[in-house]
Symmetry: C2
Subunit: 152 residues, 2 copies
Amino acid sequence: MTKRYYFEDLVPGLTFELGSYTVSREEIIEFASEFDPQPFHLDEKAGKASILGGLASSGWHTASITMRLLALGLLNQSSCQGAPGIEKLQWRKPVFAGDTLSARMEVIAARPLRSRPNLGVVTMRLETRNQHGVPVMTYDNPALFARREVGG
Amino acid sequence: MTKRYYFEDLVPGLTFELGSYTVSREEIIEFASEFDPQPFHLDEKAGKASILGGLASSGWHTASITMRLLALGLLNQSSCQGAPGIEKLQWRKPVFAGDTLSARMEVIAARPLRSRPNLGVVTMRLETRNQHGVPVMTYDNPALFARREVGG
């Protein structure tokens, strides 16, 4: 796989549009059944009765869909080596069946890693919006990227 | 479903053992194929060549498994109404095929919600360990719980 983006290429201020994904009712229920079996993620009536206002995806499902967009839209063309964590994750609005999610990433920080001179840490700020342009989820994700080397 | 735990019951210092879950190689690859198709989550060789040291689960998979344990082990017997976000999520160690994960929750803060007097915010600290007792993931999760009412 061609690596277009190394640590040095991911400079603060750079943004990437990561594509979109439409979430079906079946997928919402399937994910929730396996990983987040709370009533408002499984059943229309329970969703409507909840503060979510309808059958809504698990927040971890929304995060996983965003990860898919990030991997296919950027990381798989990069020298990414994984990520140590997530900060300030906010589920801002519910995601309902049929919603089309689009993700966008902005590089907000980048620094070489002292303990491993072949790597750098790039902090990515993710924003996932629905088809109305409303942010449904945001988070910051520091991730490790290999540095560009001669012939690398 | 019987609600054993309302906002008032979830006092700081209280801890819950949430059970365990063994992750198979097939599940790791299936989740990654759908949500996090980076080589080190899909292929043994690529995993070994990476800083993870072997085929390792997507961090979002580990988080989703922890969510399953939290829902089945506590939230589905509670008045939980959902969660606005996640703070300080750390993926501390890789999760490999065959690992058995156990999750534990500690209540670290609780306060009534001013804007919605029937709800309170409980901050849950989650720790997921592998079969060697080593923490693989930790995070803080503020979540909304209905307050106990007469007849509620």
